[in-house]
Symmetry: C2
DNA sequence: CTCCGAGATGTTGACGTAAACATCTGCGAG
DNA sequence: CTCGCAGATGTTTACGTCAACATCTCGGAG
């Protein structure tokens, strides 16, 4: 009977012994360097396959100081945008040979955010992508490790860090002007939570667009991105016959407005026009299908990784990236009533 | 002028020197062992804070053979369920001091799945959670590393692996019986893709329930979980006056059916009742608000981690876990017309 | 006063890899 | 025919931590 091979995984040394070469040659073959004789390389590869060898990442990381891993910090995956961001980030990272490590922050308290950064410092990552409410970030007085590259999504333009974002202002302007073009007197807004730069920028651009057209700027409703908060605003909106056009800060809140309108018997779009923001997958199937602003979470996510990898490689600070947005007209908007 | 400290991160040796103790004592303090004199421990902790020391995970992993990391393999985060699973998994893992590494499989080809597993073997993980179409998994002829614990979500009950799932059968039965109780002659079904055990089990239970009640079992529509596929089925359904009750395999397809019904002027629920599955966040805000089956992605995700951690610790194979489902009645179902 | 044990602390080496440096081979120029 | 160089391959060592073992100190029992 043959003695059972040890349960330990094969190491480079084992492969070297089996192939009759040195560990160093094994290492060279494993990394695909070309200064190895083809015949030798083949022999080594056969031995690797035979023994089921794969390099130990911990040892590799220890030796090289590189983990080939990127940490991602976010609050929740429940929001459409965050899930999309993560998906794009993971794919872009994977394409570059990097792996994503998820650092969830369950509770939106400052203490929890602080804790996440503390845990972060002992993570084995080469860089970090942060997708989080900007305010909580600045409130939490933890400094990010100075030597670790960081890219923040949903941040204001700052001098130190590369900037990457959807063109929030363009989107909000397109939405507002679309409604004005349809003859509405003015446009009401269901804003996202003020802790988000995205919400603030959309609101500001909506305001500026109304002002530029000389319209009254009504007091915005304040939501928290959730359909419930959109519904709450929608009940108020549906009651008021003077409101004929609403721009919601995201599709979820727009859906809440639609529901409130249906319940109140307020016809959309005949009596009330609604525009969302995001173009989430389901938006096309809402009733009526939602007119909205399409943004490319994918591009932003991929750019974030590109930027981060650049920083990791000590590339010079790149140009800021602004990903354009686009108006998608569907069935939830129409000419102002009585016109 | 003081010479700039080296850019390298402080190591245990640096802390030891600063605190005037040995590396081993530093290690003991870092791990919170109690066999260190309080005074010494304090001195070491001060030095750690001073130097900004945190243990190097790569070295720790190399030494101990444990990475405190769990790999998660999934196709997409775009589906509500997957995002929810990942969130629950990440949180449960984090609570247990583990970190999640994401291994995305972008294309649903067998080759890509195979590639993911190949890459996986060189990952630094202690265990794996797989959330993927069961068929693709069995087709891909890669064996999972035998020594690596694996938990599969959406798998059939097998003898070798612990089993964990939502009670799909209960949910499908509740949905079907709810519609029968409302007086509908029979219930049509928009099934999910047959590659998913979840889809197959829901379909089978729907079929069994109809048979148990002595009803005709119509040919099911076949979708792919997407709202578009639900919409396609819905257009056919809306055309046919004989169909008065539909059970869709998930909420997204139910939304597609709702849209098709609206477009065709088919009143929901007066003329057509619709039930979904999942109870996604937006379901309550659909028009009409969707009657659906609530399942706890959270419980399943957390159980998956609990099971995996058990396997990692070589605990005995635990009981199978079946998480119950629940009928949530909202506005999309009503008594059969003409009754 | 001596010895012993318990608890605190120190020393050594190994984990698997890759960088730096060393050696070896063969071939062509002079 | 010798030398030197280029390319292939081997040897040594360090990365940071932790387990195992060694040592040291101190107090109490005999």
């Amino acid at each position: 009977m043959i003695t059972e091979p040890s349960a330990r995984k094969a190491s480079a040394a084992d492969v070297a012994r089996a192939a009759g070469v040195s560990m160093q040659t094994v290492s060279r073959v494993a990394r695909g360097l070309d200064n190895v004789q083809p015949a030798t390389a083949t022999r080594v590869r056969e031995a690797m396959a035979e023994l089921g060898y794969s390099p130990n990442r911990a040892a590799r990381a220890l030796r090289s100081g590189r983990f080939h891993t990127i940490g991602v910090i976010m609050f929740t995956l429940s929001s459409y945008g965050n899930a999309k961001f993560l998906e794009a980030i993971a794919e872009a990272a994977s394409d570059a040979g990097y792996t994503i490590t998820l650092l969830p922050v369950s509770h939106r308290t400052q203490g929890d955010v602080t804790g996440a950064f503390a845990r972060l410092s002992e993570q084995a990552v080469d860089g970090i992508v942060i997708v989080i409410e900007a305010d909580l970030l600045s409130e939490s007085n933890v400094e990010l490790p100075a030597d670790l590259p960081v890219v923040i999504i949903d941040s204001s333009r700052q001098s130190e860090r590369p900037f990457i974002d959807t063109d929030q202002a363009l989107g909000a302007r397109l939405a507002t002007e679309h409604l004005l073009d349809l003859g509405h007197e003015t446009v009401w807004h269901v804003a996202g939570p003020s802790g988000y730069y995205a919400a603030r920028r959309r609101e500001a651009a909506w305001r500026e667009t109304l002002e530029a057209h000389g319209r009254v700027v009504p007091e915005p409703f304040r939501g928290d991105w959730s359909t419930e908060s959109g519904y709450a605003a929608g009940r108020e909106i549906a009651r008021r016959a003077d409101i004929t056009a609403v721009f919601a800060g995201n599709d979820g809140m727009a859906l809440g407005v639609l529901r409130a309108a249906h319940e109140a018997g307020r016809a959309v779009p005949a009596s009330l026009s609604v525009v969302g923001f995001d173009d989430m997958t389901e938006a096309e199937s809402f009733w009526p299908p939602l007119t909205t602003i399409r943004q490319s979470f994918d591009s932003v996510g991929r750019s974030a990784i590109a930027l981060l990898l650049g920083e990791i490689a000590h590339a010079p600070r790149p140009e800021d990236v602004i990903v354009p947005t686009e108006l998608v007209v569907r069935g939830s908007t129409a000419e102002a009533p009585g016109r």
